[in-house]
Every structure is written in C-alpha cells, then in structure tokens.
C-alpha cells in the first residue's frame, strides 16, 4: 500500500509543478514527472512477489510470471510521452524566439 501511496505523491509533485511553476522548461519537466509516476504505477501493480520475468527462454519451465501487458503499455506510453515532450520543447523554443523569455507570466498575449 505504501508504495502505491508514494507513487500517487510523485504524481501530485508533478501536478504541483505544472500548476505553480512559471518557467516553460520546468512545466515540461513536471509533466514528465507526472508521466513517470503513472508508468511506475503501471509497473508496480504488475509485479507479483517471487515471479519470473515474462520471457520464455530455452530450458526454463514456465512458472509464475510478472504480468507482461502493463510493461507493453508502459513502453507505448513512454513513446507517447517522448513525442509530447519533443513537441512541447519545440513549442517552447519557438515561444522563446518570439517573446525572448521562458517566463509564463510574460507570455500573455491571449486573454485566458
């Protein structure tokens, strides 16, 4: 139970960062932390105590295995996060080119 709670706290740390930070790069990093906490959550509930890693090898018999599906999901979500981080960084670079600042409070041409 503690480990799930820690995971949720990590999620909240990321969320706190997204809400309160003013720097574009810090916002992107906070989003990444949120993503990592979710990935961690997926991995830890797939863990079975005393289980084998989910790969068939020559000469080993199939015993209890860790659930492999969440690991596949995590791989997919890592790819998606990679894409979104790249996109956000590209937007941040462009925004820096236009406004000459990373401070979100100074990037306010739209009303809200």
């Amino acid at each position: 139970m503690t480990i799930y709670l820690m995971c949720f706290i990590l999620f909240l740390v990321g969320f706190y960062g997204v809400i309160t930070k003013r720097d574009l790069v810090k916002i992107i990093l906070s989003l990444a932390i949120m993503g990592y906490s979710t990935n961690l959550f997926l991995i830890i509930f797939a863990y079975r105590t005393g289980a084998h890693y989910p790969i068939l090898e020559k000469g080993t018999s199939v015993t209890a295995m860790v659930d492999p599906l969440p690991q596949a999901l995590v791989l997919t979500s890592i790819v998606i996060e990679l894409g979104i981080t790249a996109l956000l960084v590209a937007l941040a670079v462009r925004l820096y080119g236009k406004y000459k600042t990373f401070d979100i409070t100074k990037i306010r041409r739209l009303l809200g």
Binding site: I55, L56, K58, L75, V79, L82, A86, V89, A90, V93, R94, Y96, G97
Partner: protein, 149 residues
C-alpha cells in the same frame, strides 16, 4: 559559429571508433526483438543515439554532409508506409489487418515468429530516423534563431 564545429580531438576519435559499435548493438537488439527484451523501439533508439553522438562530437555541418538528411526523411515516412503494407497484406492472406501470415518457424530461432521480425526492423528504422530528425530539426532552429540576432 565555433561552438557548432564539434568537440575536441579526443572526443572525435572515440566517437569515430565507437559509433559503429553502437549501431551494431542497435541492429542486434532490433533483429533479436522477438527472442529477447528489446525490439524495434529499443534498437531504434540506440541507433538514433549513435547518430546523435556524431552530431554532438562533430557538429551540425559535418553530420549534415555525412548523413543525407532528405534520404532519412524519405526513410522515416517510407517505413510507415511499409508497415501498413505488411499490415494490409495480412488482410489479403489471413483475413485480418496485421495478421501473421508467414510461416512461424520454431521457437527460439532467429528466423521465426512470422512477420514480427520484419515489423521490428521497420519500426527500428522509423524510430531511429524520427528520433534523430526531431533532435536535428530542433538543433537547426536554434541556429536560425541565433542568426536572426
């Protein structure tokens, strides 16, 4: 633009030696994707990192001449088309998109698992190209920005 012409001689020499080893390792991961951990995505990332090593060590100009960027762009979108071609052939041969229609072979062999190694190779090319091009493009518009100033 001194800063973009690469790092010191030591770094360049080490990179020159190691880059092919890294690419080889990436290829190994891609080709054994259906037998061991890894596969198209992991191997593709390793190959992209080899290219990025060159970009970091030798700078923007050299990498642009060494790798043919338009060719990489074609490979990047072409590999997706190939992936879908393999998927569509599944409809014609086995009645379902992405169905595994090649003979599966026997377990633990390199040439087994039907279309999966094929798809792994395609994904590896796609991931390597797109990951490298993302960084390449971003590095390029940083330079543009500086030239404006």
């Amino acid at each position: 633009m001194k800063s973009h012409d690469g790092m010191t001689l030591i770094v360049k020499t080490v990179t020159r030696l190691s880059v092919w080893l890294i690419i080889l390792y990436g290829l190994y991961i891609i080709l054994h994707g259906h037998l061991t951990p890894g596969g198209g995505f992991g191997g593709g990332v390793v190959i992209a990192l080899a290219f990025l090593n060159v970009l970091l060590a030798f700078g923007h100009k050299f990498t642009g001449e060494w790798l043919k960027i338009p060719l990489l762009e074609k490979l990047e979108s072409g590999s997706t088309l190939l992936f879908m071609l393999v998927g569509l052939l599944g409809i014609f041969y086995a009645g379902s998109f992405l169905a595994n229609y090649i003979i599966k072979g026997s377990l633990y062999h390199l040439f087994s698992a039907g279309t999966i190694p094929l798809l792994n190779i395609i994904i590896g090319v796609k991931v390597a190209m797109s990951l490298f091009l993302v960084v390449w493009v971003m590095a390029a518009f940083k330079i543009e920005e500086e030239e404006e100033q």
